[in-house]
């Protein structure tokens, strides 16, 4: 597995575009508007924001963006098939509710190590199964994805509340909380997870049968069916993956919070993830996907908010600016695509 590309290269390879022949700065800017925006934002911060160039700032920003990117990876695959997944926030709540139930149970307390392992694995699988249900529902009954996943958006959080009786589950369990608070080589664990998932998904899209089938389905579903591609299975797969990603993000979120609250975990996450995908340059019509773009998109949104807050702009205003950036990004991409 080659992992030594620059981001720009990775973006180009994933989307199947040919490498630029000349490294002319203007063509680069035109080709990678999101990457350019990120770089401009970084330069601006190095000059204006006090203490920006510090390990701590980087760490804080990456930690905060990690869950969005993790969910965004699954969302990118779903959107590449021409669908959308509104249920991710609710699936985070389900996985977040399930983990403490396991490691706080009498079994989990008596078999500590096994309890922790199961608390990592079972909730993620459960979220993946709910995601697979989304895919089954959408393909079996030919429901529009936005409607099909809306069902789980509503029901999922309810399920999370029911299994916890609507109670906040506070805990302090350092072994489990490694996923949100731990570091490996000075880098937060969830940032490692994020980077690995982005790399893995980029590779899947680029090199595997499953990845190519995702793009073909998004590009022309009728042609895909006539070419014998198992369209329904592939769709079921992407929604299941989206569920798995949401499951992981749910664990990270409760680990950071020292508690699980099914009413709050993953609240609004579907919109943050969709925004990251949009800013990152994956078109909502399907047929193209850039997971690295989604990472960059999430970083831009995060960094922008940080910039405004660090420079004393209230959060309410930051939200408006965030909306503005999404519009700007989508507009820039529609222009670069029209060419």
């Amino acid at each position: 597995m080659k992992m030594v590309w620059s981001m720009a290269d990775a973006q180009a390879i994933e989307t199947g575009a040919s490498k630029p022949n000349s490294f002319n700065i203007i063509t680069l800017v035109r080709r990678y508007p999101t990457l350019t925006a990120l770089i401009i934002l970084l330069i601006f911060n190095f000059i204006v924001t006090p203490h920006f160039a510090s390990w701590r700032t980087l760490s804080v920003n990456l930690t905060q963006v990690a869950t969005i990117v993790i969910v965004g990876v699954g969302m990118t695959l779903v959107i590449a098939t021409g669908g959308i997944d509104l249920s991710v926030g609710s699936l985070m709540a389900i996985s977040g509710a399930a983990a403490p139930l396991i490691f706080l149970s009498t079994f989990g307390k008596s078999h500590h190590a096994l309890g922790i392992v199961l608390a990592f694995i079972v909730p993620v699988i459960v979220a993946g199964l709910f995601g697979a249900f989304n895919g089954w529902f959408i393909t079996r009954f030919k429901v529009q994805p936005i409607v099909g996943t809306l069902v789980m958006f509503i029901a999922g959080r309810g399920i999370g509340q029911v299994v916890t009786n609507g109670n906040l589950q506070p805990f302090k369990n350092p072994d489990f909380q490694v996923i949100g608070l731990g570091h490996v080589l000075y880098v937060p664990v969830q940032v490692w997870i994020m980077v690995i998932l982005v790399g893995l998904a980029a590779w899947v899209i680029r090199r595997t049968l499953f990845g190519r089938h995702i793009l073909v389905i998004g590009g022309n579903e009728k042609a895909a069916r006539l070419a014998g591609i198992p369209v329904d299975w592939v769709k079921l797969g992407v929604y299941a993956i989206s569920g798995l990603c949401a499951g992981v993000a749910g664990l990270v979120t409760i680990a950071i919070n020292f508690s699980s609250d099914a009413n709050l975990v993953g609240m609004g996450m579907e919109l943050d993830a969709i925004a990251a995908v949009a800013v990152g340059g994956t078109p909502f019509t399907g047929g193209k996907a850039t997971v690295v773009g989604t990472l960059i998109g999430a970083l831009i949104i995060q960094l922008l908010r940080y910039t405004l807050l660090a420079n004393g702009v209230p959060d309410a205003v930051a939200l408006v600016v965030k909306a503005g950036v999404i519009i700007l990004a989508v507009w820039l991409q529609s222009r670069s695509r029209a060419r």
Partner: protein, 513 residues
């Protein structure tokens, strides 16, 4: 005779430089039912769209009721007295019948909807057609025929004087067709004119007074229905002179009589919806079998059913001696079938993807080891087929949408050829392709058949069928009406079978209907 209700003369329109209509004309008398026919792309719909203001013409004059008109939208045309009734009936199925009739101009009292008056007037209007239904029930409670009546009633509530019906019978059963024809005759009695577009020639004789035939964007003939035979209509639509067979040649040089090895495909008594009502055909290895028939005769439906793209209701399909009932293309592809659709743009190419990706679309699973695609092998295959088929492209990474129609079609052919198929179903393989590429594709098809590939070829071009096919099946309204060998085939025979069925074809080579 009084002056005509509608006169369209010298109509011309081009789309991005390609002329769709050239000096086309159409005259409709008051109170007549006028048939408008032609092959796909002949210009019928373009004429109608110009008339109703959906397209803006480049040249030509339209006189309606003695005045020149130039509608800029279908709404305006409707207010002016011209009401189209579309193929997919343009109504809201979950609203009531009355609401549908008055959609967009509901009667109001003091700004509020006057439901009582609306229901009363709607019922009154429908009673004109001897339809007595509860207008307060939602439209979807009623049959397609009634829904169509509602659409017609809606048109008349606009005081329409010209009603345009585009394939109105395509989704009706026989009894419903009778009801529709009665309605059309009533309209006529009330002095309303009707433009009737249909591919079912028998219907034209049942209900129309005159007919206009279009071909390649021109009006080629206008006649009273009583003065023109079915055979003449078909000849005019296809552009054939009944006496002199044109000298133009296809890329199928040297195809001779029935040849072929073992029987590959055999379909018996296929029934699919209302469209296909007992079709049979067979293809042997190394044979090119032509499937001829007018539009709507069920050609494409049969091909899709054999390929597993759509289900069929009755009949048997045998492939290499085994009965199959495919539920998805993947199943028939595994057996060695391939299918090039007639609708290259919508069902064939993945426009944003490269030639490489498009070419290997069906082959991908075979190129993958443990789910990872072997790109070296992929490139090698793509390069080989680009060379072998002479696909003109800047390289395998060029997006397929940037290629010409002929080269796109070659890529789609290669998509199946790289699978090493046993049988290829080609639906209109040369439609919309320039002459040079067309001959190339035709000679390629022949070469492949010579190497043992079975080919089932659907074509609207008689030439292609006559010169290319070793054996020809002719369809008429969803039934196989003739089975001819290459030697027996002639334009007259095919057209005769299309028009009249068995009767006009000589005893030899006729299959049971």
């Amino acid at each position: 005779m009084s002056e005509p209700l509608l006169t369209m003369t010298g109509m011309g329109i081009s789309f991005s430089g390609v002329p769709a209509l050239t000096d086309a004309h159409l005259t409709i008398e008051r109170g007549e039912v006028h048939a408008l026919i032609g092959q796909n792309g002949a210009g019928k719909s373009t004429m109608i769209k110009i008339l109703t203001g959906a397209y803006k013409r480049d040249v030509g004059t339209i006189m309606f009721d003695g005045k020149p008109i130039d509608f800029s939208s279908p709404q305006e045309a409707q207010r002016g007295g011209i009401s189209p009734i579309y193929q997919e009936i343009n109504l809201i199925h979950f609203r009531t019948v009355a609401e549908n009739i008055f959609l967009g101009r509901e009667p109001k009292r003091m700004g509020f909807l006057d439901v009582g008056r609306m229901n009363r007037e709607a019922a009154e209007l429908l009673r004109r057609f001897a339809i007595d239904i509860d207008v307060r029930r939602p439209l979807m409670d009623f049959s397609t025929a009634i829904q169509q009546m509602v659409a017609i009633a809606r048109a008349l509530s606009f005081d329409a004087r010209l009603v345009i019906m585009d394939e109105p019978t395509s989704s009706l059963d026989e009894r419903e067709v009778t009801v529709l024809f009665d309605t059309i005759r009533k309209l006529k009695r009330d002095g309303v004119s009707v433009v009737f577009i249909s591919h079912r020639l028998d219907e034209l004789y049942a209900v129309c007074d005159r007919v206009t035939v279009m071909r390649d964007g021109r009006t080629v003939s206008t006649a009273a229905m009583t003065d023109i035979t079915k055979l003449q209509l078909i000849a005019a639509m296809l552009g054939r002179d009944l006496k002199a067979v044109s000298e133009r040649s296809t890329g199928f040089a040297g195809v001779t009589g029935t040849k072929g090895g073992a029987e590959l495909l055999e379909a018996e008594g296929l029934k699919i919806g209302h469209r296909v009502r007992g079709a049979s055909l067979s293809v042997s290895a190394g044979q090119i079998v032509g499937l001829a028939g007018l539009l709507g005769s069920g050609r494409t439906e049969i091909a899709r059913a054999i390929f597993g793209a759509d289900p069929f209701d009755a009949g048997t399909i045998k492939f290499a001696g085994q009965t199959i009932k495919p539920r998805a293309p993947a199943e028939t592809i595994a057996l060695g079938l391939g299918f090039c659709t007639e609708d290259r743009k919508i069902e064939g190419i993945v426009p944003e993807m490269s030639v490489r990706e498009n070419l290997t679309l069906a082959l991908l699973p075979k190129l993958a080891r443990m789910g990872v695609i072997d790109e070296g092998k992929q490139r090698e295959i793509v390069d080989r087929f680009i060379k072998r088929l002479g696909i003109k492209t800047s390289g395998p990474e060029q997006k397929i949408r940037e290629l010409s129609g002929g080269n796109q079609q070659k890529v789609l052919l290669a998509r199946w050829l790289c699978m090493n198929p046993k049988l290829l179903i080609l639906d209109e393989p040369t439609r919309g392709i320039d002459v040079g590429a067309k001959a190339e594709i035709q000679s390629l098809i022949k070469e492949l058949a010579d190497q043992g590939l079975g080919v089932l070829m659907i074509s609207s071009e008689l030439e292609e069928i006559i010169e290319g096919a070793n054996r020809v099946f002719v369809l008429r309204e969803g039934q196989t009406v003739a089975d001819l060998t290459h030697e027996e085939v002639s334009e007259q025979r095919i057209m005769g079978a299309m028009a009249h069925g068995l009767d006009s074809v000589n005893e030899d080579g006729v299959v049971h209907g």
